[in-house]
């Protein structure tokens, strides 16, 4: 039974599912089905994250991408449930444009994918780390965990504890500033959206006459 590497098996299972559903997105003409396949593809990707032991990132993937696409699906249903948009037909020019964009993206991603080391399970990674210690080498400083990321966000860089204080004070003390800027930016965007979408007072005929 040990002849089968089950991590690889599940990796190929989830990876294959993600690719399959991604292809289904491309080759479907129904908007709602497209969104459905997209959700399936993203969920399979989150399965890959869970397989790699990154529970937080996997849950994030479900929360943000799958949940976000869900909203897309809702709009798809709302705007196109009946009428001419339910079937989408792509013209020849769109196909060429999409092929150029997608192809160039693929050309970047494939070398990047093969530049990485082989996929290893968390257990194997632990064994490798022990081997590294036994050989007298030091472990790489940063071990990504949710705790470290969270503490970094609120201003304490656990991986930079040894560094001298001027560096820490000089804007390196964490991701708090970036986090705040993003938060304020989002707030501004939301306020703007609320302003644009607010119910405007409809001009009455008498007002229009007065203007004229």
């Amino acid at each position: 039974m040990d002849a089968i590497n089950w991590s690889s098996f599940y990796f190929f299972l989830f990876g294959g599912l993600a690719c399959l559903f991604a292809l289904a997105v491309v080759f479907t003409s129904n908007v709602v089905r497209m969104a459905f396949y997209l959700i399936m593809s993203l969920a399979a990707t989150s399965g890959l994250f869970f397989l790699a032991g990154a529970d937080f990132v996997g849950a994030m993937q479900i929360m943000i991408y799958v949940g976000g696409t869900l909203v897309l699906l809702i709009f798809g249903v709302m705007l196109t449930a009946q009428g001419p948009f339910i079937k989408m037909h792509t013209s020849g020019g769109d196909w060429i444009l999409a092929a150029v964009v997608g192809g160039s993206m693929l050309a970047i991603l494939i070398p990047a994918a093969f530049a990485l080391g082989a996929f290893i399970t968390p257990d194997e990674a632990e064994v490798a780390a022990e081997q590294r210690l036994a050989d007298g080498n030091e472990l790489p400083a940063a071990q990504p965990t949710a705790t470290r990321i969270g503490l970094g966000v609120v201003g304490a860089r656990v991986d930079k504890l040894e560094q001298e204080s001027p560096v820490l004070v000089g804007g390196m003390s964490g991701y708090l500033l970036a986090f705040e800027i993003i938060a304020i930016h989002l707030l501004v965007v939301l306020v703007g959206a609320a302003y644009l979408a607010r119910a405007k007072k409809r001009a009455t005929p008498t007002q229009i006459e007065a203007v004229e």
């Binding site: 039974m1 709602v32 849950a59 479900i62 820490l168 004070v169």
Partner: protein
């Protein structure tokens, strides 16, 4: 569990045939996975059977009727089983214009979302199918997917009633995720972890240690959380998606037979799940109001005694979850259905602002070390972390166990005293000293 099965069961069986099974043999993992999935499936299915019967009885009593009385003897307790048989024999209908693939898939998606959320829910200390250190987050993320099945059902049915129901459900669930998430964050910040097992452990001891008694604001938070839970599992008074008086049956108008019953399994499964989440986050999880297992000294023991203690914990948990569902049933048969604008008003004008205010005030309560029922420490302004920890009394089960204590000898001890956290505190202190120095 997989190691246990390999060592104690499979190896024992294999010994009859003169073989042996390694500790980390694959077969044990498969058996463990199947067992866990079967247990969770049974909790959902048997829970649904029981709660549908309970709902009929409770609604009957509330409306001054008897409810089911005949099937299975005295209390009509086999009524749901009879209903199930009826559902199996019903004709499986599908509208002619339906999107056939999505129509078939939708009930399973709703059910799978409800099922997957159970994977991370602990029923006793460490008794979760998967121990995730982000269990709360995982449950919230997966539970939000149930609406996916509902929307697909509404769309694929090719019926106006269904589509209206689905759109209402979508608007409602997407809105209520905001205050729901805010309410969940509050006990998570107080506990300092997203691991449900640790959150439950931190509430060990007398019922005064439960987070609902942490501060007055926490009590309000629990109320808001429960309201948002009602809305997110689509129960009355928030059951607009299936409003019988307006939309026939909403998103499942076109469904019949087993497919229809899958939606109901999902609904009752989610009700039970959010009750469990509320129990762990606010009501002490598997810790009873009186810490019997701690008084007897069997909590966290090895072998059969520890197993019995765990079973008692699981019983506590299941009782609390059932109580939560009973309250939901009670509310359903007491309050009238809200209009869609009232639902939105409740969410955005009441639940969300209240949750925000509670979040800040609980954090302040925590930051200034104000007294809680479980830890009646003298009022002190936080000067140093070591100073504000209360002196240890003689018996550990009388109060909320301190983090360091749990790490060394506490019941079901775990590693909270993470070097990361100490390092971060040290770094923060160094930073603040330097800022003061400049």
């Amino acid at each position: 569990m997989a190691e246990f099965i390999n060592v104690y069961i499979l190896d024992w069986v294999a010994a009859w045939f003169g073989g042996s099974v390694a500790v980390d043999a694959l077969f044990g993992y498969i058996v463990a996975a199947v067992l866990k999935a079967a247990i969770i499936l049974n909790i959902i299915a048997v829970g649904a059977l029981f709660f549908i019967w309970l709902e009929r009885k409770v609604s009957g009593r509330i409306q001054d009727r008897l409810g089911p009385t005949r099937v299975g003897g005295k209390f009509g307790w086999l009524q749901t089983l009879a209903d199930g048989l009826k559902l199996i024999t019903k004709e499986d209908l599908m509208p002619g214009d339906a999107d056939r693939l999505l129509f078939r898939l939708a009930p399973y998606i709703a059910f799978c979302a409800s099922f997957a959320a159970y994977l991370a829910l602990p029923f006793a200390a460490g008794w979760a199918a998967i121990q995730l250190n982000v269990a709360v987050f995982f449950i919230l993320a997966v539970l939000g997917l149930e609406v996916f099945g509902v929307i697909l059902a509404g769309y694929a049915s090719a019926s106006k009633w269904s589509l209206f129901g689905a759109m209402r459900e979508a608007a409602q669930v997407v809105s209520y995720e905001v205050p729901l998430g805010l309410c969940v964050v509050i006990p998570v910040t107080v506990a300092g972890t997203m691991d449900l097992t640790k959150i439950g452990e931190l509430q060990a001891g007398w019922f005064t240690n439960w987070y609902v008694f942490h501060s007055p604001m926490m009590l309000i938070t629990a109320g808001v959380f429960f309201t948002c839970c009602l809305a997110s599992v689509n129960r009355a008074p928030f059951d607009l998606a299936e409003a019988e008086s307006e939309l026939v049956a909403g998103f499942h108008t076109e469904y019949s037979g087993l497919r229809w019953s899958f939606f109901f399994m999902a609904e009752y499964g989610s009700m039970f799940l959010v009750s469990g989440l509320a129990a762990v986050l606010f009501f002490g999880g598997w810790n009873g109001p009186i810490p019997i297992t701690h008084i007897l000294g069997i909590a966290g023991a090895d072998g059969l005694v520890g197993f019995i203690a765990q079973l008692m914990g699981a019983t506590n948990m299941l009782l609390k979850m059932s109580l939560g569902v009973t309250i939901m049933i009670w509310i359903r048969w007491t309050l009238p259905r809200l209009r869609i604008d009232q639902v939105m008003t409740t969410c955005w004008k009441y639940c969300t602002p209240i949750a925000c205010v509670m979040f800040v005030s609980v954090l302040l309560w925590q930051a200034y070390q104000l007294p809680t029922l479980g830890r009646l420490a003298p009022l002190r302004i936080a000067g140093d972390v070591e100073e504000v920890l209360p002196p240890p009394p003689t018996t550990t089960w009388l109060r909320r166990p301190a983090a360091t204590e749990l790490a060394t000898n506490g019941p079901g001890s775990f590693e909270l005293a993470d070097s990361d956290i100490h390092g971060a505190i040290a770094a923060a202190r160094r930073l603040s000293h330097e800022v003061e120095g400049q």
